[in-house]
Subunit: 608 residues, 2 copies
């Protein structure tokens, strides 16, 4: 039953050689990998205005030069990541680039912050989308957390179904959102050019403003840059593209950059011309849409697609996280299970981990994840900076044709990203300090995990000189709980293996019982030696372990191996198990982990 629910939710398992069919074409890739970046235009321009409004509405014209700065950064990032895509076509993005050019620890800083960042992306964007939806339907407001969790579960299931299927479903909302914003920007611009918008709404560009400072402008710039989170996703996900993967990825990246630039600058311009001031009750995009259209069907269409894309922005995390995890796991910095493809050929452990972690965050923050946004922006710009710096070193080292131009591009990207990261630390330290705690801890953990894997590998490798101890004979211990078919079955099995010695062990709770059992046994199995142990503390494991220890000690001297043969009856129905004291499970786990004995379970299947 469990498996048929699984089938229904995620579909039939796919064969390994069907992997090719799970690859993305450009249209789908754009939809699924850019939802995060595109959705951030819904709040990026607002972030700029929120900083400027502290000086006054007269300062709003600064949003134009700041937006230009953001566009320059965007251009630098897109060009840099384009170079990264061609240079590292196997994917991995910032992690691989930093690791190979700057060293392992820089790679881990980039990888660790991105890993955490994707979890934040999912939590933050689903919470934001849920807020947008419940604002429209206030009666749902008290169920915010539940709705957000259901969204995460939905997106997780979609991704478990496989990359192409989730892309097919998610493509519609993403393109609808782009169309909606295009309509809004087009109509808004038309009104401006046809003179329907009065000049009085905005102060002209260049108006001197009292109280403006470079610090404030840089802060506004850093805030606006949060619209660029998500542009690295494509470089992590190259292996998901149809062949030729790098070329398709580069084209998709260019398309995304263009869309992002148009939407971002369009919204900034409209906000400026229409004199929009950010306020608590209504988002900037909503205000623009209302100014342009009034509250008609188009307005609601724009609001609806915006809410939708905020939720679906989470999906970018689902595309990038598992692939980044594979890269880290291949290098043994995180558990190996992340490298295994699930039934539908997606890296299901990564997908499930991401879903689980973001649900945890949503519940911990009770759905109010806005305070995580700066943390999340820093987590993006640190790897941006590192990967660009890595590329600089690469060009300096390799000096391919035209390396000067390439270096210039990456150097610009690195410099601006570095400044943005710095700005976050300078202007929002109270919100971003956790990075300084968690990042070192994460890297420490990565190293400990790797050290463990290497130690295990060394010990298992057959080349190592340690010779196997010869086995001269076998002692079998059979714990018995009564005179039953289950026990008979196990004793017969032990006999059939021609062990050098078979010892049945009975743990008794009182002396009377002990004597009686010994007598019965002598009649039933006269040729099998019985040892009875008295348990003062009503524990079976303790006296048994003590006995096993003694036998093992003796056996070691003679190079005998000790096997504990556990009789176990298997009930016909699974639920029957709760009706039986599963001492055998405890005994097995205890002996396997704590003692060097072999544990054999002889099942006796009940028929009713």
């Amino acid at each position: 039953m469990k498996s048929s629910i699984k089938r229904y939710l995620i579909g039939r398992p796919l064969k390994s050689n069907e992997l090719g069919e799970q690859k993305l074409n450009k249209t789908k890739a754009l939809a699924i990998l850019s939802s995060d970046a595109l959705s951030s235009v819904a709040y990026g321009p607002e972030q700029i205005l929120l900083v400027l409004v502290t000086i006054g509405a007269a300062a709003f014209w600064y949003s134009i030069p700041i937006a230009v700065g953001v566009l320059v950064l965007l251009l630098a990032l897109i060009l840099s990541y384009r170079q990264i895509i061609y240079a590292y076509p196997q994917g991995g993005g910032a992690y691989v680039v930093s690791k190979e050019n700057l060293g392992v620890n820089y790679g881990l800083v980039a990888g660790g912050s991105l890993l955490v960042d994707y979890i934040l992306t999912v939590a933050v964007s689903v919470s934001a989308g849920t807020d947008a939806i419940t604002s429209a339907f206030p009666s749902l407001h008290s169920h915010n957390i539940l709705i957000a969790v259901l969204f995460v579960l939905f997106i997780t299931t979609l991704n478990l179904r496989g990359v192409t299927e989730s892309a097919s479903i998610l493509a519609y909302p993403v393109y609808l959102f782009v169309i909606a914003l295009f309509i809004m920007i087009g109509a808004g611009m038309y009104k401006i050019f046809t003179g329907q918008v009065t000049e009085a709404l905005h102060s002209p560009i260049g108006t001197p403003v009292a109280g403006i400072s470079l610090f404030l402008l840089l802060r506004a710039f850093a805030s606006g840059s949060s619209a660029l989170t998500g542009v690295e996703a494509i470089s992590n996900a190259i292996p998901n593209f149809k062949d030729p993967a790098p070329k398709n990825a580069a084209k998709t990246l260019a398309a995304m950059g263009t869309l992002l630039a148009i939407l971002f600058s369009g919204i900034v311009l409209l906000a400026y011309y229409y004199g929009i001031s950010p306020n608590e009750q209504e988002t900037v995009v909503s205000q623009i849409a209302e100014s342009v259209f009034g509250r008609n069907a188009v307005y609601y269409f724009i609001q609806f697609t915006t809410a939708l894309i905020l939720v679906l922005a989470a999906n970018t995390g689902y595309s990038a996280f598992p692939l980044l995890a594979v890269n880290l796991a291949k290098d043994k910095f995180i558990p190996r299970m992340f490298t295994i493809r699930g039934d539908r050929l997606g890296y299901s452990n990564g997908i499930i981990t991401l879903g689980f972690a973001s649900i945890l965050l949503i519940i911990m923050f009770k759905g109010h994840t806005e305070s995580l946004i700066p943390l999340y922006a820093v987590g993006v710009f640190i790897p941006f900076t590192l990967s660009q710096t890595g590329m600089i070193l690469k060009w300096l080292r390799e000096k391919p044709a035209g390396w000067r131009v390439k270096l210039a591009i990456n150097a610009t990207g690195a410099a601006i990203s570095f400044i943005v990261s710095l700005m976050f630390f300078l202007t929002k330290f109270t919100q971003v300090w956790p990075v300084l705690v968690f990042l070192p801890l994460t890297i420490l953990l990565f190293h400990r995990i790797k050290r463990h894997y290497e130690a295990v590998g060394d010990q298992l490798r057959i080349a190592s000189c340690e010779a196997a101890t010869p086995i001269e004979g076998n002692v079998m211990i059979v714990p018995v709980a009564g005179i039953t078919h289950v026990v008979e079955n196990s004793i017969n099995y032990a006999k059939s293996l021609n062990a050098d010695q078979i010892i049945a062990v009975y743990v008794a709770f009182d002396r009377e019982e002990e004597k009686k059992f010994a007598e019965k046994w002598a009649k039933w199995q006269p040729d099998v030696r019985l040892v009875t142990l008295h348990s003062q503390y009503r524990s079976i494991i303790q006296p048994l372990t003590k006995f096993v220890d003694i036998v093992e000690h003796k056996s070691k001297e003679m190079n005998y191996r000790v096997t504990v043969v556990i009789p176990q009856f298997i009930p016909k129905e699974g639920w029957h198990n709760i009706l039986h004291n599963q001492s055998s499970f405890l005994i097995r786990a205890f002996l396997l982990y704590r003692r060097d004995v072999i544990v054999t379970t002889v099942p006796y299947h009940l028929k009713k």
Copy 2:
């Protein structure tokens, strides 16, 4: 570490022969077994007034004759249970009495309702006590559920420490409560006799009241009887008493009955004389205390001990539930695990189950468990009625000396209990109907469990004619994942057992890898046959199971037994396990439950 926390919380394990020291003397037994009954005087009289107030304050004098009725019922119950104690000194109360005299199903009705009832006792009384405490400290009010859960955990831990220890700790609050109420009743009566209370406060007894009906009076009587819940606890817990257990239990029962009668009638009288009217904001006991003392230290002392005893009333459930569960488990109606004594000689599984279930109820009802009170009262009076009826039949059958008096006592008890139960169904059907659903389901479950145990017993019993199939030889299958020391270890073990055939099985995910491995294997272990399986769906279990099926099928024909030998390395630290794909666990569980093969785990302990 885990075990040292356990030691700290519940103390060192006790030897089985230390059981005698865990028995209760009368003073302690009274404290721990009567907290439920005594605490109910805090709300019993109020329940009567709440019914009468629907007619008007003039009807309050009826509380006096109703209280007399309750006292008669109390006397009948105490005398009946006294007879039960002597007749069934091994404990078990209503369950045993009904089962032996009326038949198994009546016993199960009594046992089932009491079992559920003790869970309700714990949930209801802890919630009520928590409410009383948070009423005093309103800032804690939003943490009601958490506080209630912590109380349950505290009482559970106390009971896991053992009966005598919890009795020692709980004796103080119980006796403090009794002293507090004695002071209040004494002072209140003194004021009445010295004429400090005006006659105008209450209407004289016998005043005619319009609208009064027999139905209403019976309803008030039934409500007042809820003060008698908990009187059966002592009869369930006789085995916990010091020798001579039945005599000590009977004396304790008499003491409890006396205390209960004094406190109950005292509160009813004071409420009548002081003209107390029940209201939402303040309990009746609080109003009496205020009338007698004003809001001074004595008042707060009374309030505090009342709150405390409400919480501790839960403890009665902890004394009675595990012992009742033992009786049901011995008769195989509930899982056998309830018969096992824990480290501290208490029946820890019963204690933990009770704690867990009541926490669940508290969380489900968000701490508002008042609505469960009628359910809980019905759950007490049904077994009351059944056990008294059982005793009637016993006297009629056995006719011992003086049986007529004994029969009269039990008949009175049975009749009144029956009327009270009926009244609950007639007057509060909307709150008590779940009993009619859950009780039959519970009894059905009891029977299914018993049937299962009996079926298992039949199949295991060696006397049954089924002869064991002879074992003519052994085939050993070793799933191998690589050429490592772990595998070498397992292969050497299989060889040492002189199995008739050893087959190594390798599951490959691609053809290339498959070929390479086969070549390497042939060089490394030329004398062990290797079978490689190709897995299209990246599953190890599926192809392996298929292969095991084939081998098993062939082996059965020749009476060979199949053993799957699983190589498993055991990391040095427990947490390392999450770093390794524990396929071996899955394989073992799957093969053991689904297939009839023996599973052997050969551990290879890593040293670093």
